[in-house]
């Protein structure tokens, strides 16, 4: 009785050892195979742009300097041929007014293009500020991740772009962007968004919104350049991104961002 039980035990151990060795060899083989495939770039989708010679663009907006003139929003529409009617914006300005009773009034008449008229009387205001908004050019952008056809992507320079020939207009990215920075172009019927004026960057010109900002509240620059003006600005100011909890890797840094900002 006891002898037969011990034999059975030995068989069990023998078979499980064989199984273990088999799976160990398979795992090792798969790991080596995957490493080889990855290094030979056969698995193209695992490739990551790591070109250190290219800039890695970031943006900074100084809320203390913004006077809400709407020049940026206007220039963006002119430069990029964005439809002029409201609701199509690549960049716009909001006015936040925190009242003494604690409620927050947020307005953005035509994206700020026509200027702002203060609609809360001075005596009711706790504080008020302008919040210019645009694409955050996230390093881990949700819009890029949901695109089913690979039409939206993060360029090697860190600019989120839309391939208009590939976009099928499914609106997934419009839903996914937590900053509301995308829309469907009413004529082209494809997704449209801020490109950080990619066509201007290629000609060494500043994006249109930054070209026209009268107070220098907006700036862009190379985050890899540790001596550059953008990194210097980030070093000298207390900056924050919008919705940091979403871990989007946003590269649009606001100076003096109030906690009421959404």
């Amino acid at each position: 009785m006891s002898q037969s039980a011990s034999t059975m035990g030995n068989e069990k151990i023998g078979s499980s050892r064989r199984k273990f060795l088999k799976s160990a060899v398979t795992l090792a083989g798969a790991t080596i195979g995957y490493t080889w495939l990855k290094s030979s770039q056969i698995l193209i989708f695992a490739a990551e742009p790591k070109d250190e010679t290219l800039p890695w663009y970031g943006i900074a907006i100084d809320i203390e300097k913004c006077i809400g003139c709407g020049s940026c929003a206007k220039a963006c529409k002119n430069e990029n041929d964005v439809p002029k009617e409201p609701f199509f914006f690549r960049n716009w300005v909001e006015q936040y007014t925190v009242k003494n009773d604690g409620t927050v009034d947020i307005v953005s008449p035509n994206g700020g293009i026509d200027g702002f008229v203060q609609r809360v009387p001075d005596e009711d205001i706790f504080k008020s500020f302008f919040l210019p908004k645009m694409c955050n050019h996230c390093a881990k952008s949700p819009c890029e991740q949901v695109c089913p056809v690979g039409a939206t992507f993060l360029s090697p320079e860190g600019v989120v772009l839309v391939d208009e020939k590939y976009c099928i207009g499914c609106r997934y990215c419009v839903q996914a962007c937590p900053y509301g920075c995308r829309f469907i172009h009413p004529v082209k019927k494809v997704a449209n968004k801020c490109t950080l004026c990619y066509h201007r960057l290629k000609k060494n010109l500043a994006p249109a919104c930054m070209e026209v900002c009268p107070t220098g509240a907006r700036m862009y620059g190379n985050l890899r350049d540790k001596q550059g003006p953008l990194v210097k600005f980030l070093k000298e100011h207390t900056t924050q991104v919008l919705r940091p909890n979403l871990n989007t890797g946003a590269k649009l840094y606001y100076n003096a961002l109030s906690s009421e900002a959404r």
Partner: protein
């Protein structure tokens, strides 16, 4: 001893080979050349962006002809403001030199976009005017030269 292979195995293998090779051929034809060069997208679409024409020329292009305005502007508080902030996109005008291709904004509302009283404007960021009280009925440019706002006209 030769192993027995059921006749359906070679047939199935052939069918699989045809389907897989068809898939590979189709995949090769359907995926654009530059797809996957940097990641799961068409790298050539970045070149499409480079061909878009610019509308804002930048103020250096303005100063090539309007040296006098550059000198005038440098003396006063509007020196830091680029020409196209008020005058709009200037690329067309910089090549045609036609007055019709550039904006010449006037009016209290336009100046008010920056200078109207607003609680959100920092007091030291920009000078603010109460447009409901300041010289009502008059156009700003009747007294102020926008290139040199503190050299009063009268």
């Amino acid at each position: 001893m030769k192993r027995y292979i059921p006749p359906q195995i070679p047939r199935l293998a052939l069918a699989f080979a045809i389907v897989i090779s068809l898939f590979l051929v189709l995949r090769h034809l359907l995926i654009p050349d530059t797809f996957g060069k940097y990641g799961p997208y068409r790298a050539a679409s970045m070149d499409d962006y480079s061909t878009i024409e610019i509308h804002y020329a930048g103020q250096q292009a303005c100063f090539e002809c309007h040296q006098d305005i550059e000198d005038l502007k440098a003396l006063d508080v509007h020196s830091g403001i680029h020409c196209e902030t008020c005058h709009g996109p200037g690329q067309k005008h910089s090549t045609s030199a036609e007055a019709a291709d550039i904006l010449k904004p006037t009016g209290r509302e336009f100046c008010g976009n920056c200078h109207m009283m607003n609680a959100a404007r920092q007091k030291d960021a920009v000078l603010q005017v109460d447009l409901t009280k300041h010289n009502i009925g008059k156009n700003c440019t009747e007294c102020h030269n926008p290139h040199q706002p503190w050299e009063m006209k009268k």
